[in-house]
Amino acid sequence: MLYNQPSPLETRVLTRRFGMLNSASIGTYLATDGYQAFLKASKMTPAQIIDEVKASNLRGRGGAGFPTGMKWSFVPRTSPKPKYIVVNGDEGEPGTCKDRVLLENDPHSLIEGCLIAGLAVDAHAGYVYIRGEYRYLIDILEKAIAEAYAKGWLGKNIQGTGFDFDLYAHTGAGSYECGEESALLESLEGKRGVPRIRPPFPAVSGAFQCPTVLNNVETFCAVPWILAGGGKAFADLGVPKAGGTKLTALSGHVAKPGVYELRLGFPVRQLIEEVGGGIPNGKKLKAFIPGGSSCPILTAAECEGATMDYDSMAARKSMLGSGGVIVMDEDTCMVKVALRIMKFYADESCGWCIPCREGTTWLTKIMTRFYDGQGSRADIDLLGDISKNMLGRTFCPLGDAAALPMISLVEKFRDEFVDYLKGKRREETSGRLVTV
């Protein structure tokens, strides 16, 4: 099902079957060249498959943006241990709702991506970890998997290629941290989602301590197109060092929120004004989150000339992240936003390591007191200090994910925090600045 009108500015690669009748069915998939890329890959060597993915400049679409071909090349194919494919369908990053539409509208592209990855690293079993709240998508995926088995695209000696592959859906049960790759692997083993120490990385010791390719849903969904049309074609859609398109989930203060597939390097201004239909009620842009709440927030000024790609965001000391774009207009109370974001990380912290457990908790307590009007000027500096002490010192990136937005908020919106102390608040309904 489509949840928003497509935009004419989209480049429909991963979403090319969206809107077709029964787009999720294997009938539609096979009628639109589905599984042909797998057959092509089955005649290639693993090294050739990985080279094609490298040539595409595909980078992980979950948030970290690590080059996918390089990640696959780290798997020791000659290891005597069985290898596994694991799909990260935990999609918990606030602002992000794009893996959801892929699972719903083209689940077979995910299955085919897993098959190709299996060929590349000699893996014969895969697990699609999907967050527990996405139950209807687990149902859709399991139906697609059953169709694939029935038509001989999963199981033993697939289409006479001699390649065996089994795929399973696996439900989560409510945890943002289980979107972190090593915590996901722990959860897959039936344990608390507490992250693992790295190294070793999943490529060497992943699912069941065996070599594993673990990637985001969207990353796998791009693979069939890359194998079919060639890596270079995918690379050419993007920018240097980052190929292809990115499913972008637009939310917040825009007229046309929705999920849109856009070429990497898409201008931010055009994203907000043309794809998103602009900010309602004639309001001006105040703040912009490029890829989920874990990214440093950008001011309107910083959006000038910015494009949706890894390098452009890194140059502005933020990240492309998950593709969860959140737009905030001039009436937004940044103090309230800061509190809510900190509350999220405190709620979701697994509690294992002190800097994150204590850090996220104290950031939330201080922000709560501040928001309730009991704060002080020293609190503004304290929030920054605690965050800086968390950065790079936590067992997994969740600590960074809390620290980075907090630092950006107190630095870029310091005046608003100071004004808040003086009683200047945003009125709830009108957004007008009043003094209490």
Partner: protein, 160 residues
């Protein structure tokens, strides 16, 4: 414990999905699917799942406290989950949640006396572009206003 034939079949399928000796992997899916039938994770279920997956009841217990969807006490027949995270907050989800609590006469995590409804303020559920988002059990509801929520709850109340 005996479950419905469908659940027993699902358990059998789960146990066969993981490598030999890795039946523990079936634990969390089993708990959630069983909770859907039973209403909550009971002591009996913990012992049963421990037995089926070859672990101790303690190893099951330590998992339950971690995952937010697993609960030791039943929720309402209709568990209303309101997201108040950033994208939804920007579309007044905090006021939507307050409205929902008032409408149901409950605080966060409360259950109505007749067991029909419960309410929970939740974190991001992956419906940000269609905010404000609400889940009732597993069903998603998008662009929920207080009026739409009232209508939804009234319709559920009248369902028998």
């Amino acid at each position: 414990m005996t479950f419905s034939p469908q659940l027993e079949a699902r358990f059998a399928k789960l146990l066969a999905s993981y490598p030999p000796g890795r039946e523990r992997s079936a634990m969390i899916p089993m708990l959630l699917y069983a909770q859907d039938e039973l209403g909550s994770v009971t002591d009996e279920l913990i012992a049963d799942v421990a037995d089926r997956t070859g672990v101790t009841p303690l190893q099951v217990n330590e998992v339950i406290s971690y995952y937010t969807m697993l609960r030791r006490k039943p929720a309402g027949k209709y568990h209303v989950q309101v997201c108040t995270n950033v994208s939804c907050l920007l579309r007044d989800a905090d006021r939507l949640f307050e409205h929902a609590c008032r409408k149901l006469g409950l605080d966060n995590h409360g259950v109505t006396a007749d067991g029909q409804f419960s309410i929970e303020e939740v974190e991001c559920m992956g419906a940000c572009s269609w905010a404000p988002a609400v889940q009732v059990n597993y069903d998603f509801h998008h662009a929920v206003t207080p009026e739409k929520l009232d209508q939804l709850l009234d319709e559920l109340k009248d369902k028998r």
